[in-house]
Structures are given as C-alpha cells and as structure tokens.
C-alpha cells in the first residue's frame, strides 16, 4: 500500500485521493441508474483484478474464470436457501470449494506440463463440465435455476447481504478497493516478483531457484478464491443463478476484458478497463435506443469497433498510456 502510494508522484496521489473521495460520495449526487452502473463497474474491477493476478502477473491464461464465480455463488446461495446459513459464513465454504477446484485444475496442468493454450483449454473445459454438472443438481435447481427468495422484511439485513442498491454499491466499493490493495501488496511481495519472473521466462525463473509449481499454484488458489467472493456478491445481488448464464464462456470473456483493455499486470489496469468498458456499453445502448436503431447486434458491432480502436491505439492497455500521458507515476531512472 505504502509502496503503491510512493510509486505515484504528487499529481498521481491527488488524482487517487480525489477518485476515492468521488466514489465514496457518489451516492450523494448519483441517480440510482448511475449507482447501478457504478456497482457493476466495481464488480468488474474486483473480478478483473482477481483474474489479473493469475494472467497479468503469473502469466497463466484462464478462459474459464466464470467457473469460480458460479461455484462461489452457488455454494453460498445454496447454503442460504436450504440451511439458512448467511453469506458471510457461506463465503467460507464457497471460497474453499472454488479454491479446491482451482487447486485441482492447477495441479493437473502444472504437474503434467499443460501450458499456454492447452492450459486455457483446460480451464474452459472445467467451466463447461461444471455447467453441465450443475444442470443436473436437483437441490440447486438444476438447469431451471436457483432462486434466493426476495423478502422485503429482510431488506435491511446487511449481515445477510439483503440490501438495496446503496448497500451493494458500498459493498462492491469495499471489495474493489480491497482487491486493488491486495494486488498492489502482492505485486511488490516476493511472490509477486516470482510470478513476474515466471511470466517473463519460466525456464529462467526455475534456473534462479524459484519453485515454479508452488508459485503458480498460489496464483491459481488466490485468484480462484477471490473470484468466488465475487460469485457470492453476484448471487446475492441478482438473487438468481442459472448454470447456463453463470458458467457461460461469454461470462469469462466479459470478466477478462477489463484487465486486457486497462492494462495487464498493472494494479490500476483492471480499474481503468472496467471504467472504460462498462460505461461504454451503457452509452452505446442509450445511443442506439435513442437513434431508434433496432438492428440486432448493432451495439455489439460498435462495441467491438471501439475495442479494436482502443487496442490498436494503446496495445499495452489504457492505464500505462494514461499514467504516462498525465504524468501520474514517478519516472524511474
């Protein structure tokens, strides 16, 4: 945290403080619509950051991260619906189960030398297996979905994640903030440096004496556990889970777009990515609706075009470019 602060120059520190204050005070001025968009942004900051640890720092491309969102959500929601166990307690088994899945995938891949695109395929395969499996788990609703009852009388029960838009906004803010701080700390830790060494050249890292298997396993474990917490948030925010939606490949892609656009392997990349992509999507919907444009997929085409332009102009991500342009970080000699 301190090193993150020290890495910024005076201007960067002022921008950070203003941004945090603005987010804290946003509910005072923001409409409910804006607040719901901000909540979504913060959710994507959080899960994007979790994925960023694994890909951005450790260099392990997971394309099935929706698996952990789904597992986290289903475990916590299932415990709440069937046993009345609140999500603050439910999050513990949710994280444990997701981390166990992550550990198994990691062990399978790293122990048997499944790397690169093959590792990515393995992560997709596990997400798909699990989706099909959950389609047939009767107590969790199967393909018909799991529903968390909406009870107006329990709306104030923040300890059971039963709250309104404001509550979920601040919860997402805390999660996103914690994820940023954790990433900043890990990036500067011994483990973070090991990850970066592995990302750059695994053989060289091994030659330097780094226990590559252990370091990569830690990346998968931390990332899957963090993502599962995002899944608990998702389940209690939307109050319903369908395997076809929550484990879907498109969900995984949605989750990783922010860090890619924002800047992989940077602390603020996923933050900037989420702040660019989610409002862009909302803006394009509003514009196409106002223009009366009813061609299916028109928005997706515009979105894709804008994404291509961003990636073409700033291939290293928006954050590294922006921080250089605005002079937000200290120049290293």
């Amino acid at each position: 945290m301190i090193s993150l602060w020290r890495d910024m120059n005076r201007r960067g520190q002022v921008v950070l403080v203003v941004a945090v204050l603005a987010m804290l005070l946003a509910p005072v001025v923001a409409t409910r619509y804006l607040l719901s968009v901000l909540t979504l942004i913060l959710y994507f900051v959080y899960v994007g950051q979790a994925w960023n640890l694994m890909m951005g720092y450790a260099g392990q491309l997971s394309l099935g991260h929706a698996l952990y969102v789904g597992l986290g959500g289903y475990v916590a929601a299932g415990l709440w619906v069937h046993f009345g166990i609140g999500p603050w307690l439910g999050v513990i088994p949710a994280v444990a189960i997701a981390a166990a899945f992550g550990a198994f995938i990691g062990w399978l891949a790293f122990r048997f030398g499944i790397e690169g695109v093959y590792f990515s395929l393995l992560t997709i395969a596990f997400a798909e297996f699990t989706r099909i499996g959950f389609d047939h788990i009767g107590p969790l609703g199967g393909a018909g979905g799991l529903f968390i009852p909406y009870q107006e009388s329990r709306l104030g029960e923040w300890w059971n994640l039963r709250g309104g838009q404001l509550f979920f906004y601040y919860l997402a803010f805390v999660l996103a903030g914690a994820a940023v701080l954790l990433t900043a700390w890990l990036a500067r830790s011994r483990l973070g440096h090991q990850w970066m060494a592995i990302r750059e050249d695994e053989t060289a890292a091994r030659a330097l004496g780094i226990d590559v298997f252990r370091a990569k396993m830690k990346a998968v474990l931390i990332s899957s556990a963090m993502t599962a917490v995002g899944g608990v948030f998702y389940a209690f925010y939307y109050n319903n889970l369908f395997p076809a939606q929550v484990f879907e490949m498109s969900r995984s892609i949605e989750l990783i777009l922010g860090p890619i656009v924002g800047g992989l392997g940077t602390v603020f990349g996923p933050v900037i990515g989420a702040f660019v992509l989610t409002p862009l999507g909302e803006l394009l919907i509003a514009v196409t609706d106002k223009a009366g444009l009813n061609a299916p997929g028109a928005k997706a085409i515009f979105f894709g075009l804008v994404l291509m332009i961003i990636i073409y102009l700033v291939p290293g991500g928006v954050w590294p470019w922006l921080s250089r342009r605005l002079g937000l970080v200290r120049r290293r000699s």
Partner: protein, 413 residues
Amino acid sequence: MRLETRVRPSRRQVLGGAVAAGAMLAAPAVVRAQAKALKVAVLLPRSGLLAAAGQACHRGAVVSPKVLADFGYAVELINVDFESNVDVARTQTERAIAEGANCVVGAFESGATLAIAQVCEQRQVPLVINIGSVPQLTEQGYKYLVRNFQTNPQLVSGGLRLVKDLMAATSVPFKNAVFVHANDTFGTAQRAAMDRLFPAAQMPFPLLESIAYDPKAQDLAVEVTKIRALAPELVLVTTRSSDAIKLVRDMVRQRFEPKAIVSPGSPGLYDEEFYQALGPLADFHLYNLPWANPKAQMTQALAAAFKTAHPTNRFEVDCFNAGFTFEGIMVAADAFKRAGSTDGKALMEAVKATNIAEHVMTGGPIQFDEKGQNNNIQAAVVQNRNRTPTVVLPPEIAVSAPVLPMPSWQGRS
C-alpha cells in the same frame, strides 16, 4: 462614495418565492401523477442469444400504442434492448425508470426478469411479465410483479390435455409416446414438469422414455436412432427452432414417421427459420400453446397494424411473442386508465384488479391471483399448414380441422 444597489427582499417576497419554488419542485410529481399517457418501458432481449424471440416481441410492442389508442388506451413506450444479459437488464431498468417509465413490461427470459423485478420492487414500479415460464417468478413474494403467461407446469398440463382433445377430434389413437427435449434451462424444466404431470394427466397411452439432447450438437442422429428403436406413434418434443430443424432432418434421413410430432408447450416448430430450412417438411407438426385467437376483434386489429408496420414479417408466425407483449402493455395501459394516476402504488393496485375480457391470446379474461399469476390462459392446438401456423383446436376458435396422422415425408411438395 459607495452606491448602495442591493435591495433587501421583504418577508412577503421570500414567502412568495418559497411557495413558487416549492410548486416548481413539486410540479414533476403532480404532472407525473396526472400524465395523459402511461410511459411503459419494454425490456426485451433484442440482441444476443435470445434475439430472435426478443425481436418478435419487439415487433408486437412497436405497434401496440397505435392499436391500443384505437381501443381507448394511451401509452408511450421506452424500448430497451437488454442484450440477453442480466447485468444490462438491471442497469437498463434503472435507466428506463430514471427516464420516467411508470411501468415495465418484459422480459422473455426468467433470470433477467428477476433482476428487473428487484429494481421494480425497490422503486415501486409495476412489472408485467409478457413471457417467462419459471414458476418461481410469482413465488418469490414480489409485490410489484404480475405474469400474463403460463408457468411450465401449466404449459405442459395444458399441452397434454390438448393431446387428448386432438385424439378425440380426429379419432386417431396413439399407442405410445416418447418425450424428446433439449437439456437447456427450458427443456429441463419441461422435463421435470412432464415427469410429474404425465402420470397425473392419465393419458391413454404410456410414455416409453424421455430422451434429452444437447441443443448445441451438430446433428441428432443418435437421438433419432434411439427414438426409432422405441417405435413410438407420438413424439412429444420440447425444442428451439435450430434443434427442431436437426430433429426433423434426422427423422427424414432415417425414414422415421410417427403419427404425429407434438410440442406440448414449447416453441421451435413455428419459427420462420424452421419453415425456411425445412420447406414442406415443416408442415403438419403440432404445438399446444397459448396462441393469438384468430377470431378475436383485437387480434385482427393487431394483425392489421402488424402487417402495415412490418411488411416483411408474418403476424401468424410472430403472434405468440408479439401477442403476449401487446397484452403486457395493454394490462399496464388498462390499469392506468382505471387508476387515473401513474403513482406506482395506485397503478399496481389497479394492475392486480385487472379484468380484461376482450384481448388477443386464447383463454378467459386477464385476471391475476394474489401472487400475480394469470391462471385463465388456455392453450390451443396449432398445426403448420403451408408453412403457416394454423389454429385447429378448440373448435370455437379453429380456422381449420387438424390433419392426423401426418402425411409421409415422401411426396410432400
């Protein structure tokens, strides 16, 4: 020397100003409550995975204000595409309400509908579900939600009952049946309903087996071989159009000809895509679903407006999606007419007290029970004839007699 130009306002002026300011601030609420037309946000999946159905619903929505105006209702629409995405559904509901929507209609898909329902509940804005069959939608305790559509069990039980009616009307008995369904959300829910309801329906033939398939499979040859081995006279199906095409193609390839292929409450057999891909092979399939009553005056008005607005689309094909979306908007408009206010609470009370006898879809008057479910919707038997959905039962609304057994695949022109 300093010129004194400031004038101190008197107490009366301050009081007058405060009253004026208060009136200005209160005006939007008063204007809202006395609005002449109801602003209805219609949230549909017009792009993404469910785009085809969402577009069909949308076509019904865009002609609704004009048709409803002819029947004395005033509505303005805010059309929103939520891209078959739950996140977008939630944020766009907030946007629509912020833009002044007094009521929401949607959303075809159950997950998105529940996301919308939470926003509506918190904002006290009525939500009228046009299409969405998951029973839990009306079992979650939402106070600002009603559903003008059948639940999965209602769809299946209504569909099975009509199979009996079909047998009676044509005097063609079935010795046995097989149920084939996609293993997606809808298909699995239909299977659960079928497992529970088939024995209770006391059908005059046994259900030999239920066969699930992956709708993403390249072909359904294995499944059709399995069905063929069982030699059923009736094949009950729950499909979407793309897999219905694969199913029929493989049946033709394997020369498997049951007496009838009937969908007891699912889409797939009446999409334009199905007709175009299969040509004459798309004919004579049957589906037991709530349908637009071809003899109702309002259906004819909606069909006429639809043809003018969408000359390249057929109302007969779109009428299921378009009809229910139209009815959803009508429920909201009718409640507004009775309530005389756009206030959420008053509007919702009026929605719950809905009693509309003259409407588009088959069944009795639109009324909602204490949970917000309309239990008066009735299914009809619809058969593809010359690649056009044609109501063949019940007799009072039928425009043609059912053809059973269906003619052989060979020799169809």
